[in-house]
Amino acid sequence: MSAISIQSVSKRFPNGFEALKGIDAEIRSGSFTVVLGPSGAGKSTLLRLMNGLETPTTGMVRIDGEIVDRRKVRHIRSRVAMVFQQFNLVDRLSVVTNVLTGRLAHRSWVGSVFYLFRQEDLGIAREALCRVGLIDKAWSRADKLSGGQQQRVGIARALAQRPKVILADEPVASLDPVSSEEIMTLLREICDRDGITVVVNLHQVDLARRFADRIIGMNGGRIVFDGKPEEMTQSVLRTIYQREGIEDDTSLDMALAYA
């Protein structure tokens, strides 16, 4: 059973830029998928379509058989959590309040607008913070934390949603190598232990190789590779990262020599 189903999706932005040019993909429930590709390949747009942050120009995206569209977007989002490159926490709120934000969709607005949460939700938030190892920082303001810690709060917020799917858009692009390792291990462990489907956009080829069940390579708004990490050879990497109009690209050779 596929958790995410993408059918002939294309996306053209109002400024005329065509980010996606016909994408078809099925993502299996409980799998760990990495989307690789150069900047501007359409990775972010693809991920954002799965959570309703963008709407496709043509085609459709289904989550567990349900079409992602404007009217059902909040319902979809309650089950499809998102982790961002810039963490996107509310700086002035405490860590635990940021995590509790993950419960908003499950509750009516009456109590939540006054920052009143049920014991049950506090329990879920506590559990999520323990999972990411930040329980002692619960009452710190979110902007007082380091980048790696903020990203762990982002993951705790996602966990608090009790989601079916976690989408992570370049979750380690702003982090140092050690924090990156922590975050990727955490996401992998969430996938394995909770059976949550994880889709991650990455720039780092080595991380993709080590953590993914499946790698989708994108270039210029199209899928140019789809397979297991061990199937991703040097020539495949060349296709993923090749740049339009440049023959004999020495920068590409140098970059991939150590990938």
């Binding site: 909040r74 998102m82 963490f87 934000t101 607005w109 939540s112 607008v113 020495t250 920068s251 140098m254």
Partner: protein, 267 residues
């Protein structure tokens, strides 16, 4: 561009400089200012001659008369209360209208337009005019003053808040939105916490402005220290007038320092 190209690249001329229209704008503004002075026949000579007369007039306020100080302080209290209630009213209205008038939070274009035009309308109504209307409708006293200040400054506060909300980081909004939060939850979690400091600054500014304005509103019968000042001025009682003006000045200074202190505390 390729590493190979970089090495062999010969120095190339700088691309042509983009046009900068700034000097034209500055020149046009100066020309317009000069035209206005010329058209209105504003004469700086008259101003120079008038300085002496003005100095003489102000010298009449030289001996403030504080014999009735306790009454002045009571009246100042009434004026402060008027300003405070006006500000609270403005804050309440702006709190509910501003999110609807912020493009990134408004649920749809229609509510956005309606909220924005409502705020514009409130702002466009001068508070002196509103005070006259409310005094006619509700009778003399601080209540019409508070209402007039409230309606007028709700328009300001709402606009300030809406503009701050529009500057909230797009990522923060997406972070909260991606959890499936609804409109009210978006406003309470992504909106207000992010602009809290700015918003407090605006509220304090509006309070400061309302205290000054409430002193003037007394002139149209809305009570407080303004009414007393109006009376003493009409009786050419310069001593008492000077005392009243000093009381107002001191109050505004105190509020200014208090709000600066409050803002530091919140940081």
């Amino acid at each position: 561009m390729n590493v190979h190209d970089l090495k062999s690249a010969r120095p190339q001329p700088l691309p042509p400089k983009p046009r900068n229209p700034m000097p034209v704008w500055v020149a046009a503004t100066l020309a317009m200012l000069w035209l206005i002075v010329w058209d209105l026949e504003i004469s700086f000579e008259t101003l120079a001659y008038g300085v002496e007369d003005m100095a003489e007039y102000f010298s009449r306020y030289g001996q403030p008369d504080f014999t009735d100080l306790s009454r002045y302080l009571y009246l100042m209290g009434v004026t402060l209360a008027t300003a405070l209630w006006g500000t609270v009213f403005a804050l309440l209205v702006a709190f509910f209208l501003a999110p609807l008038a912020a493009r990134n939070f408004a649920p749809n274009v229609v509510t956005y337009r309606i909220a924005r035009e409502t705020l514009n309308f409130m702002r466009a109504m001068p508070d002196l005019l509103l005070a006259l209307i409310f005094v006619a409708a509700l009778g003399l006293g601080p209540l019409p003053g508070a209402l007039a200040l409230g309606v007028h400054t709700a328009g300001f506060l709402g606009k300030f808040f809406a503009e701050s909300l529009e500057r909230v980081d797009k990522g923060v909004c997406e972070g909260v939105a991606s959890t499936g939060a609804n409109f009210a939850q978006m406003v309470m979690y992504a909106g207000w916490p992010s602009i809290l400091r700015e918003a407090l600054g605006y509220v304090l500014y509006i309070l400061d402005r309302n205290v000054r304005m409430a002193s003037v509103l007394g002139l149209v019968g809305a009570g407080g220290i303004g009414l007393a000042l109006h009376d003493t001025l009409r009786l050419f009682d310069y001593g008492q007038s000077a005392a009243l003006i000093l009381v107002i000045l001191a109050t505004i200074l105190i509020i200014d320092y208090a709000s600066a202190w409050l803002r530091r505390r919140l940081d």
